[in-house]
């Protein structure tokens, strides 16, 4: 391969990788959950912060709610109910790092939904919670 062409190809690949790994925004994540919710149900009519808040603060047949560790005020820091480890605030207004990495969001929903509900959350439930957290202002 022509060395210049090779260099160009490498640069393009590197740029593509960088873009692929680039931080997402809470809006991106909400959007991809919206598409997933539509695939889940043809009746999906958008997310609701109010539903998200109720979901976040309720227990779902088990010992813990989301608020057990994250507190009922997601603008404040939480604390793991078992280990007492501090947990940074969940609302993006209080913690700009929240909902900026799809893989991290999926990992924590997978674990925590299993702990709180004993099953995976639906895309609609995840979207409601994220919309609720995004609606909170300092």
């Amino acid at each position: 391969m022509n060395p210049l062409l090779y260099l160009f190809a490498t640069a393009v690949t590197a740029a593509a990788v960088t873009i692929g790994a680039a931080a997402q925004t809470p809006l991106d994540i909400r959007q991809s959950l919206g598409a997933a919710a539509q695939r889940e149900s043809a009746d999906f009519a958008g997310f609701s912060a109010q539903r998200g808040e109720a979901f976040f603060k309720s227990r779902h047949g088990r010992d813990w709610s989301c608020a057990s560790c994250h507190t009922a005020n997601p603008l404040a820091a939480g604390r793991h109910v078992k280990t007492h480890k501090d947990i940074a605030p969940m609302a993006p207004a209080a913690n700009a790092e929240r909902f900026t990495r799809q893989a991290k969001v999926e990992k924590w929903f997978r674990r925590n939904c299993n702990d709180v509900l004993g099953r995976p959350c639906t895309a609609a439930e995840k979207g409601d919670v994220i919309v609720y957290l995004m609606s909170l202002k300092q």
Binding site: K82, T83, H84, R110, D115
Partner: protein, 158 residues
């Protein structure tokens, strides 16, 4: 006695003392645990202090890492690559197996070492709201997140 034999005995004594010192180094006070790994720190440290690999033997870590979906009652599952990386790090830096005949110990707090090191801690400290759980190292070992568990950085909460 032959000069060479004397030298041999002297050398053996020195080596013996050195070996004795190192054999017991699990019990040192003022221990600083330096083994670190980025994924271990982030993933294990996401929910609790990233416990030093040395505090459990390799087969305990293997058992723990193979059942992360049910990690002391919570789902701590990882993607397979992260689990493999962290597992290898833990096993590489694991401590000695002191109960090889028994089932692997899964809780650091149940190892003979932990029990012995904490036998002077009164019940009221364990029950204090600030401690809450024996897994909460940082309640007293305030620099635990840096791997430093020495008595110099030990503050018992009131």
């Amino acid at each position: 006695m032959h000069h060479a034999s004397k030298l041999f005995i002297a050398a053996s004594l020195v080596l013996g003392v050195v070996a004795a010192v190192f054999a017991d180094d699990d019990d040192d006070d003022g221990r600083l645990y330096t083994a670190s790994h980025p994924a271990w720190k982030t993933e294990c440290g996401g929910c609790h202090v990233a416990y030093p690999p040395r505090l459990l033997p390799a087969r305990s870590w293997r058992a723990l890492m193979s059942d992360l979906d049910n990690h002391f009652g919570t789902d701590a599952s990882l993607d397979p690559q992260a689990a493999a990386d962290i597992g290898a790090f833990l096993e590489r830096n694991a401590g000695r197996d002191r109960t090889p005949a028994a089932a692997p110990v899964l809780r650091i707090t149940e190892t003979p070492w932990f029990v012995r090191e904490h036998d002077e801690v009164p019940a009221r400290v364990w029950q204090s709201a600030k401690v809450a759980s024996r897994s909460n190292c940082a309640a007293c070992h305030v620099t635990a997140d840096q791997g430093s568990y020495g008595e110099g950085s030990l503050f018992i909460p009131k």
